[in-house]
């Protein structure tokens, strides 16, 4: 119980820090505006003194409050409703006290006539009024305290109801008497529950993602496109680094190869080939994959730091080659290549920012699908085994050579696709697009998101490429806040925002497979089982 309350307290403090941070950078106003434009709810008569904008902002706070409560309610055994509620309440009160205090202080400063914008650039008077909900400082403080308490309780209820549908194995089961019949919920029910909720979740996410570009302006569509391209790069590098464990610092080279393939084949200068976009996509993919293999061959025997240095060199070689005067007649030199063709669809040009967002989203979905399938296959397992222990992996019968080259090739192909889209969207490509920073950024987003995890890569791309754009209003503080955020994140979640999880594969008792009569081994199972059972009982004593 004590541990649980401490956990809830920590959760509350973390949530409070997140909330305070969001308000201090004025994000609540931006988000309220965004939610308003998404829900088409921006104007209207105030309800209980709350304008539509305020309701939108409270919607954001509600989500965070529920998340806070749900987090505060977990981590204890056995499950009970009252304990969950206590956890959620403690987390809610903790966050509420701190956040209410902020509201009170800001309210006081506002009353005293301090111009907060002078110190916090994005907290303009309108944002302050929005945050205070037109209330007195004390009232606002108490309002937020109660607000977070209630949302915390809702979150706790929510978490409890989800958890009680999925049965958990207790620690005792591990070493318990294996001979005793195990009573447990039918496996299909838990499977259905989790699968159903997952499906609904993904469906909602998809709908939002596909409606978003219509609502957002050019600027945000451009930003989301960039994030999407980084998701592609991240997913590719995730295979090389996250799954196969090959530290590649020259990943930008494959991005460049994809981009230059698109540029040189479609642009009127310097070769005047003017091929179509759709023919160039597969060519870019294949060329990048091929260059991945070419890089892979000499570095097959290298590991860790050495591999990183060689790949770093490779990345720089490609960049320097692309800007060299010697190759200027071939690759456009330092000035790059302009007028790269965009995609066409049924004879129509198809290159508005919105169209590109859709194209990039579709590519991301495709790559996520492919990555997911690969990850849970014989090849994916071989990659992970290689990452864990290369020597043992090889002794287990995994051909290190082909699997490393395969990882390089597939990772490079994804980057190639990203490059083609990038060059085509910008209608331009040049050597400056492919600096070392791109490699570092992609690697950072894989690590920040969670090595080997697909949702992690997506989250990482949003944090690393999307957040700086959101923070752009902060002006000079932008990089400071961003850096601080990364440091805090790595302290709170060193394994990444959404760490990779392993699939559950053990068949439960009620899914028992019939012993295969074709295998003579099946007779021996009972013999060994007896040995083991006495062994287990021995350990229990």
């Amino acid at each position: 119980m004590k541990i649980q309350i401490r956990h809830a307290l920590t959760t509350g403090i973390v949530s409070a820090i997140v909330l305070i941070f969001l308000v201090l950078i004025g994000f609540h106003a931006t988000a309220a505006d965004l939610i308003g434009s998404l829900l088409d709810f921006r104007t209207g008569a105030p309800v209980f003194g709350l304008t539509p904008l305020m309701i939108n902002m409270l919607l954001l706070f509600t989500i965070i409050g529920i998340w806070n409560g749900a987090r505060g309610a977990k981590c204890h055994e056995p499950d009970s409703l009252s304990k969950s509620l206590v956890g959620g309440l403690v987390a809610g009160i903790t966050a509420g006290v701190l956040f209410g205090l902020l509201a009170y202080i800001i309210g006081l400063l506002n009353e005293m006539g301090v111009r907060i914008t002078l110190y916090l650039a994005s907290l303009i008077p309108a944002s302050v009024r929005l945050f205070l909900l037109n209330l007195e400082p004390v009232q606002a403080g108490i309002f937020y305290l109660v607000f977070l308490m209630i949302t915390g309780l809702i979150g706790a209820l929510f978490a409890y109801s989800i958890r009680s549908t999925s049965s958990k194995r207790s620690v005792k089961d591990l070493w318990g008497d294996v001979t005793a019949p195990v009573t447990r919920q039918p496996a299909y029910r838990t499977a259905m529950a989790s699968r159903y909720t997952k499906l609904v979740f993904y469906a909602i996410l998809l709908i939002i993602v596909f409606l978003l570009p219509l609502r957002l302006g050019q600027y945000w569509n451009y930003t989301i496109g960039t994030v999407g391209i980084y998701v592609l790069l991240g997913l590719g590098l995730n295979i090389v680094v996250g799954l196969a464990g090959l530290l590649d610092l020259g990943y930008v080279a494959f991005f460049a190869i994809g981009a230059y393939t698109a540029a040189l084949l479609t642009a009127p200068q310097p070769h005047n080939l003017q091929w179509g976009f759709w023919t160039v996509v597969p060519i870019g993919l294949v060329l990048a994959a091929f260059s991945g293999i070419l890089l892979g061959i000499p570095v097959l025997r290298m590991r860790g730091d050495y591999l990183a240095i060689v790949t770093l060199g490779f990345g720089e070689i490609i960049r320097i080659l692309s800007r060299s005067d010697m190759l200027a007649s071939f690759s456009g030199g330092p000035r790059g290549v302009t007028n790269v063709a965009g995609p066409t669809l049924f004879g129509q040009r198809f290159n508005s920012p919105e169209a590109f967002v859709y194209l990039i989203l579709l590519s991301c979905l495709l790559i996520i699908f492919v990555t997911n399938r690969l990850k849970n296959s014989r090849v994916g397992r071989a990659w992970i085994a290689m990452r864990e222990d290369e020597v043992v992996a090889q002794a287990s019968g995994i051909n290190i050579l082909t699997h490393k080259l395969l990882a390089f090739a597939i990772g490079a192909a994804f980057a190639g696709l990203g490059g083609v889209l990038f060059a085509s969207r910008n209608a331009f490509t040049g050597p400056e697009d492919f600096s070392l920073m791109v490699s570092i950024n992609v690697l950072a987003l894989v690590i920040v998101g969670g090595m080997g995890s697909i949702p992690g890569v997506i989250a990482g791309a949003f944090v690393l490429k999307g957040l700086p754009e959101v923070l752009r209003q902060l002006d000079v503080y932008r990089v400071l806040f961003f850096g601080g955020l990364l440091v805090i994140m790595m302290i709170i979640r060193p394994e990444g925002i959404i760490p990779s999880t392993r699939r559950k594969l053990e068949l439960k008792e009620d899914q028992e497979i019939e012993p295969d009569p074709a295998h003579p081994e099946s007779t021996s199972v009972e013999v060994a089982d007896n040995v083991v059972q006495s062994d287990l009982q021995g350990q229990e004593k």
Binding site: L374, V379, R381, E388, L505, V525, V531, G538
Partner: protein
């Protein structure tokens, strides 16, 4: 009948050190054979030569009469030689089941293209592999721990998982490098029974390195003693126990003469 494993004049040299020196060893099919010797005698190096980690300078290794010298470890595994390690080497961040699935790698055939398209062949193969992995999981007594990360398993369970991973390859020859290291007497006894079962029930030929003399004498039919890379004795456990050179290698010359004298008296 061709023996499962035969080495002829096997020699491995590190710089000036002869780690394995002209070792001849014959392991007939369906036997449990042990390799013993003091620390640094070259036992693990000998194993590493057989499994392709090292390429020996001289000599031959024959697996069912076919030479395997110079094969890479994955090809050796593919032929049906599996091994475990002195210090447990699991894929720590994979689950128990996944470790076993990786062990099945050489017995599966689906490629990356199969994986993306999810061909019926691949689906069937994966299902069968998963069923097999679950069967092995129960076989080594790890039922209920299949979804735990390997690094979170208790020590004894990790040892058993290593054996399960080796068995997943459906090996004809299993090399066990100190299978009972770090185990208490009770666990050691269970492991002995388990090893004997592997041979009796699955018909796997077993070659093991062991320091615990009770294990060596209790389960092996053939014992080979290495010292400074050379084979100094070979025979049944009883023969080895009375061998003066073996006692000398383990305990020193003086002890050997004393014990040898006593052995002669009695």
């Amino acid at each position: 009948m061709t023996p499962t494993l035969e080495t002829r004049n096997l020699t491995k040299i590190f710089g000036g050190l002869v780690a394995v020196n002209r070792v001849n060893l014959v392991v007939p099919e369906n036997t449990i054979a042990s390799v013993i010797g003091p620390n640094g005698a070259g036992k693990t190096t000998f194993f590493n030569c057989i499994t392709g980690f090292y390429t020996p300078e001289h000599g031959d290794i024959l697996f069912y009469g076919k030479p395997v010298v110079g094969f890479s470890p994955d090809r050796v595994a593919y032929l049906g030689i599996s091994r475990t390690y002195q210090n447990i080497r699991l894929f720590a961040n994979m689950t128990t089941i996944e470790n076993i699935l990786v062990g099945q790698h050489p017995r599966l055939h689906s490629t990356w293209v199969d994986a993306i398209i999810r061909t019926p062949r691949m689906k069937n193969e994966e299902q069968a592999a998963l069923a097999e992995a679950n069967r092995l999981l129960r076989f080594v007594g790890l039922a209920g721990m299949g979804d735990h990360l390997a690094r979170n398993l208790p020590y004894g369970a990790q040892r058993r998982l290593e054996v399960a991973r080796a068995l997943a390859n459906k090996p004809k020859l299993l090399l066990l490098d100190e299978p009972t290291a770090g185990m208490n007497p009770h666990e050691t006894r269970e492991m002995m029974i388990f090893i004997r079962n592997l041979r009796d029930e699955l018909g796997i030929t077993i070659l093991l390195i062991e320091h615990d003399m009770r294990v060596v004498m209790g389960i092996s039919e053939q014992v080979t003693v290495l010292d400074y890379g050379e084979k100094i004795a070979e025979g049944t456990p009883e023969e080895i126990q009375g061998n003066a050179r073996v006692i000398e290698a383990y305990l020193g010359r003086g002890a050997a003469s004393g014990l040898g004298a006593r052995a002669q008296v009695s």
